[in-house]
């Protein structure tokens, strides 16, 4: 339920989804102000101040609006990273599982090699590199990427860093599932009826392996959200003033003693979101695989 509320919040934080295609002025809907609108006179106001339901931060930016916009960052990271990982991993895994053992072996050795990489360190390095590139002003291919990244408030490189290696686990799972499904009688039957390889993969294998893969991916979503918050917290995530919850916490934690709410609000939002996705993942798993219920 909470996830649905979050999605609605993310989409309707302002009316850009309707206004941009029609060329109208972008106005906040659920959020009451723009996330980067500062107000010098209203710095560090406590929650409940008129006009600022959750108070303001050290630049007088409305915390409610920033938290609402922050949903967009977290959810887009969640869905983009999950989709990339699912699509790439599934493709790779199914190809490896369906091909001849020699091809399978080569493809999986490569995955094993990548599996040895410490994921988080790799993501940190990648982000540090991207940040250095975009500071220095790159040209050519990297220059185009930097432009896209700037337009997206620093989110694009986070997507790349998260998506680049997270498909590995999915590839392993998909390959294992493909190998086991490949042996079933109905595949043999389909083959006997003269179905092509493509038809077998799309009509017979994919529908049968997609369940566990989707569940696995849903369970990985909280990890993506926390990684993004972590990256933003250490200054390697989105570019200010994009309101990522991790960035909001890192902006305000030093004033924790004096203005605790500035840090508590994004933290609570982060916790509830990951909790909601964890419940969603557990629920999906129980629904699709009743044997694991309650474990």
């Amino acid at each position: 339920m909470f996830v649905i509320v979050m999605i609605i919040m993310a989409i309707f934080a302002d009316n850009s989804i309707i206004a941009l295609p029609l060329g109208l002025e972008v106005k906040p809907l659920i959020a009451t102000k723009h996330y980067a609108q500062t107000s010098f006179r209203n710095r560090d106001k406590p929650p409940g101040t008129p006009g600022f339901p959750l108070g303001t931060d050290y630049l007088g930016r409305d915390l409610w609006s920033r938290t609402v916009y922050g949903t967009r960052v977290s959810l887009s990271v969640a869905f983009v990273a999950a989709t990339v990982s699912l699509v790439v991993g599934l493709t790779y895994g199914v190809i490896a599982g369906f091909s001849s053992p020699a091809v399978d072996n080569i493809m999986m050795r490569f995955v094993d090699f990548l599996y040895g990489f410490p994921l988080l360190i790799f993501i940190i390095l990648l982000q540090a590199y991207f940040k250095a590139v975009s500071r220095a002003g790159a040209t050519g291919f990297m220059g185009i990427l930097t432009q896209i990244d700037r337009a997206m408030g620093g989110l694009f490189f986070v997507f790349i860093a998260l998506g680049l290696l997270n498909w590995i686990g999915m590839a392993r799972l998909a390959r294992g599932q493909t190998l086991s499904v490949k042996q079933r009688e109905y595949i043999e039957a389909a083959r006997a009826l003269g179905a092509s390889n493509l038809r077998i993969v799309f009509r017979h294998i994919l529908p049968n392996i997609i369940g566990p893969c989707v569940v696995q991916e849903t369970l990985a979503i909280p990890g993506y959200i926390l990684t993004e918050a972590f990256l933003s917290f250490i200054g390697l995530g989105v570019t200010p003033p994009t309101p990522s919850w991790g960035l909001m916490i890192s902006d305000t934690y030093q004033a924790l003693r004096v203005y605790p709410w500035e840090c508590l609000i994004p933290g609570a939002a982060l916790t509830f979101t990951t909790l909601a996705f964890n419940f969603l993942g557990d629920g999906l798993r129980d629904a699709l695989d009743p044997r694991l219920r309650g474990s």
Partner: protein, 317 residues
């Protein structure tokens, strides 16, 4: 077994080599000539050329790579912003993180194993629901937020613990002094929250799995008392995956350490990583990344070998 160990070692070196080459290429591809930056504004081309030669930047790439890697090991490569070698700064910060990690792990195991065990034994009881809910919360809460909450509650509201820094140390260790120990509590509690949640869930799942096995039925049929069945037959078998998983949590511990150390101003490697990134001290970042990757790899290797040791049914060939 020996052949397997050797093969794993080789694999480990391939991964580390791959990682270091990748990092090296990333450093090289980063725009901006280090020689130009070091020479400063208005430097003559001759100065830039001289610096380039001194740093070996005019050499072919494989040689530059070799200089960088060997320099990391023999202390030739110096951390630009720390006035010491990269190796020196890493080893200076290492004990603090080790201390924090071990304490967090001890707390986590002391709490999570009994919790997971009880939760599995009294399945579907209020206790079980309590444990699973708290564990789910623990997984969902970002570590840095937990750390901040602990600081706020224990340090600011109740004023029972110092909220940041490391306190007094004897040598490199701080837990041996009362003051240092008090400083250690908040960071290690924060770090342990995630480990606790993960291990409690794992213990519970593993215990439930074991309790379904035939040999538990046999033990009960023999007329053994319930606690003997649970402790001697189920618990021992359920512990294998939990204990070996500890080795796989090295990277989780480090990720958590980056966050807890930053929030609580604990002078360990995680904080060093963040500092080095912010100061753009690439040599330190590279050294730390390789060091941590190597540690994690050794951890994985130990885990795999321990599997065979704990469970003799598993063999590697």
């Amino acid at each position: 077994m020996l052949a397997y160990t050797i093969r794993r070692f080789l694999q480990m070196f391939i991964v580390l080599f791959g990682l270091s080459v990748l990092i090296f290429v990333m450093l090289k591809m980063t725009p901006g000539d280090p020689a130009v930056i070091m020479a400063g504004l208005g430097a003559t081309p001759e100065t830039i050329q001289a610096i380039r030669e001194k740093l070996g930047l005019d050499r072919p790439l494989p040689e530059q790579y070799w200089r960088l890697i060997s320099g990391l090991f023999n202390g030739q490569i110096r951390a630009v912003t720390y006035h010491t070698s990269v190796w020196g700064i890493i080893f200076e910060r290492l004990p603090a993180t080790v201390e924090l990690g071990i304490f967090a792990l001890i707390i986590a195991l002391l709490v999570s194993i009994p919790a997971g065990l009880l939760s599995a034994i009294y399945r579907n009881s209020p206790l079980d629901y309590g444990v699973t809910t708290v564990a789910l919360l623990g997984i969902s809460t970002p570590v840095f937020w937990t750390a901040l909450m602990l600081m706020l509650i224990l340090g600011v509201v109740f004023r029972v613990l110092p909220i940041s820094g490391r306190g007094e140390t004897i040598g490199v260790w701080s837990f041996v002094t009362w003051d240092g120990f008090r400083h250690l509590i908040i960071p290690s509690l924060a770090l342990s929250s995630v480990l606790m949640a993960m291990n409690a869930r794992l213990t519970r799942a593993s215990m439930l799995e074991v309790m379904r096995q035939e040999y538990i039925k046999t033990a009960r049929a023999k007329g053994l008392r319930e606690w003997v069945v649970i402790v001697k037959h189920a618990f021992r078998n359920a512990m294998a995956p939990v204990l070996t998983n500890v080795g796989l949590q090295i990277s989780t511990i480090f990720a958590g350490a980056v966050l807890t150390e930053t929030t609580t101003a604990w002078p360990g490697m995680g904080r060093l990583m963040v500092e080095a990134i912010n100061r753009r001290d690439e040599a330190v970042v590279l050294g730390l990344a390789l060091f941590l990757a190597a540690t994690a790899q050794v951890g994985y290797l130990i885990v795999d070998l321990m599997y065979a040791w704990i469970d003799p049914r598993i063999t590697y060939d």
